[in-house]
């Protein structure tokens, strides 16, 4: 176990050197979430304000969104989306390492194989939290406030965010070993992002979706990170254990798939 931790840290240090050399991508990565937060938020505010029957819309919000504070509602979704994007793209350096032959040098060494996905996972979490902290600062300025305990909200964000990132980044890593070239990797991951975003409760609560979309959202791992994190920010109750269990099952399935893929790569 200590060997695995040492091995993971050895590889994580390399990703942190990348981060120091390339701070630009960290900043570029928060542009999209900030756009979602600053444009989608006012859009809905506008609809509510101009509605013929403001009280009816508010009642609808309370009923289906469990809050009238759409911006805080949206922030929890955007924070999870940021983690999702970083996790989906988590395999990219591995794609390039395979193309350059660097991966062969790593695989020819006795370092724990598990340290490769583990180091990407640790890095995705560190990287995402840095971005979410910046987005959080902007959100705070826009008026987003945790309705309950701020500490609990942050703990939920880190915990459920990590559960989501684990499965997705392992999946991304497996894809990195399957596709022979980075252009295919980018095409596949690019096409995955928008359906995951739309079929999640990022913008609209699951209760306000058409029935078929609610089913789709239930199958989307993002949903099970957003809902408990959102509840923690809104000071509401959620299916804490069911969400954690769902994410853990998803993580286990991703891990099993990755093991099969990596085994076959050696033949």
């Amino acid at each position: 176990m200590t060997t695995l931790l040492a091995d993971t840290w050895a590889l994580t240090q390399r990703w942190l050197i990348h981060l120091r050399r390339d701070r630009m991508s960290l900043m570029l990565g928060i542009i999209q979430p900030l756009i979602l937060l600053t444009l989608a938020g006012p859009l809905l505010h506008h609809i509510v304000r101009d509605a013929a029957d403001v009280e009816a819309v508010r009642a609808f919000m309370r009923d289906r969104f469990a809050t009238e504070d759409y911006l805080t509602f949206l922030f929890s979704g955007v924070a999870v989306f940021t983690i999702l994007v970083n996790s989906v793209l988590g395999g990219i350096p591995i794609v390039f390492d395979r193309e350059t032959g660097f991966m062969d040098k790593v695989l020819a060494s006795p370092i724990s194989r598990l340290a490769i996905p583990a180091s990407r996972f640790v890095y995705v979490i560190i990287y995402s939290l840095m971005q979410v902290a910046i987005i959080g600062a902007v959100a705070l300025a826009l008026g987003v406030r945790p309705h309950g305990s701020a500490l609990l909200a942050v703990a939920a964000l880190v915990g459920y965010g990590a559960l989501l990132a684990a499965g997705i980044s392992v999946l991304s890593l497996a894809l990195a070993f399957v596709f022979p070239h980075h252009s295919i990797f980018f095409a596949i991951t690019g096409f995955m992002l928008s359906p995951l975003l739309i079929l999640s409760p990022t913008f609209v609560a699951r209760d306000a979706m058409p029935a078929w979309m609610q089913t789709a959202a239930l199958l989307n791992p993002m949903t099970h990170a957003i809902e408990p994190i959102r509840a923690a920010f809104l000071g509401a109750d959620a299916a804490w254990l069911a969400s954690a269990g769902g994410l853990l099952a998803f993580d286990a399935a991703c891990f099993a798939l990755a093991v099969v893929v990596l085994r076959r790569r050696l033949d």
């Binding site: 990348h18 660097f102 062969d104």
Partner: protein, 319 residues
């Protein structure tokens, strides 16, 4: 079996890819500690596949591979720890400095932190990169990158060093430097397995050479033994662009002392028992046929000649 555990034993190795390609078809050889062993063959002969199996990057279809007695399938981590692997293409991370690369290599092989610092310094000095140690490698020349890549493979002091085409595409200076490193490592007792399709390199560096073609070892021995087994000496006449009539070729075949003649590119190759005596006769005969030789060479066969005789084709044909 010798008293000393061989650095590498490859027994009846077969590798069939999922596509059905039989890349390695029953290869066996042994590399002793302190020995430089070259796999010589054209691209696609099975050299790289063999090396990838030894480096634990591919699973063998059948046969056994042991590194210092550790089986690569049942004890891969022990085998890995004993191997230094330097791939053909330089594989460095453009964002990392030379020192960071060496530190990472040390951690990949779990070199104790206490020893790491000193070894990084030693290796930077060995590959003459001490004064550039803290620059990102994206600013390095091709030769500097290759030297650093080699140093990365040496950091954990492997007992078996694997060099896949160590000097392909490098300038002469870097090539000679790498040859010097290999000689120094060998003197220090490191076993080295290298692949090459460069005859001169195999001749210069290797204690023993295995000629590999179509996934099989076609001949194995010291370069001197392989050449001695060739059965004769060579006279080579470079004809430039001049064409030779078939009748003229027949007449040359009849010269006294010639056991075989063949055309290889622009050159005519004569096999003979006495090259020194035959050379002036070849020159005169070509002159008389109106196809004077632009250059003439004679002497013992090169590994090129041996390779051609054994495989029936020149190494560059497929390279």
């Amino acid at each position: 079996m010798s008293a000393v555990t061989p650095a590498l034993e490859v027994q009846e190795l077969v590798k069939v890819y999922p596509s059905g390609v039989r890349a390695v078809d029953g290869v066996s050889f042994t590399v002793e500690p302190g020995e430089v062993f070259a796999l010589l063959g054209p691209n696609g002969a099975g050299k790289s596949t063999t090396i990838r199996v030894v480096a634990t990057l591919l699973r063998p279809t059948s046969g056994a591979v042991r590194v210092l007695g550790h089986d690569v399938v049942s004890a891969p981590d022990q085998a890995r720890a004993a191997i230094g692997y330097v791939p053909q293409e330089v594989a460095l991370d453009r964002h990392l400095t030379a020192r960071q690369h060496l530190e990472l290599s040390g951690r990949l092989y779990r070199v104790p932190a206490a020893a790491l610092r000193a070894r990084v310094g030693e290796l930077l000095a060995l590959v003459e990169l001490t004064d550039r140690a803290d620059e990102p490698v994206k600013r390095f020349s091709g030769g500097m990158k290759k030297r650093l890549d080699l140093a990365c493979g040496l950091l954990h002091r492997p007992r078996l060093l694997i060099l896949d085409e160590p000097t392909v595409g490098l300038d002469i200076q870097t090539r000679l430097r790498i040859w010097r490193f290999v000689a120094e490592l060998r003197a220090a007792g490191t076993a080295i397995l290298l692949t090459t399709h460069d005859m001169e390199e195999a001749d210069e560096l290797a204690d023993r050479v295995a000629i590999v073609d179509h996934g099989k070892v076609q001949a194995l021995g010291t370069a001197a033994a392989l050449k001695a087994g060739f059965g004769g000496e060579m006279v080579k006449a470079d004809l430039g662009r001049t064409e030779l009539e078939p009748a003229a070729l027949e007449a040359l075949r009849g010269l006294e002392g010639v056991s075989a003649v063949e055309r290889r590119g622009r050159a005519l190759l004569f096999t003979t028992a006495g090259a020194r005596d035959l050379a002036p006769k070849v020159a005169a005969a070509l002159e008389a046929r109106g196809a004077p030789a632009r250059a003439l060479a004679f002497g013992p066969p090169t590994l090129d000649d041996v390779f051609l005789k054994i495989t029936g084709h020149a190494i560059r044909d497929e390279a």
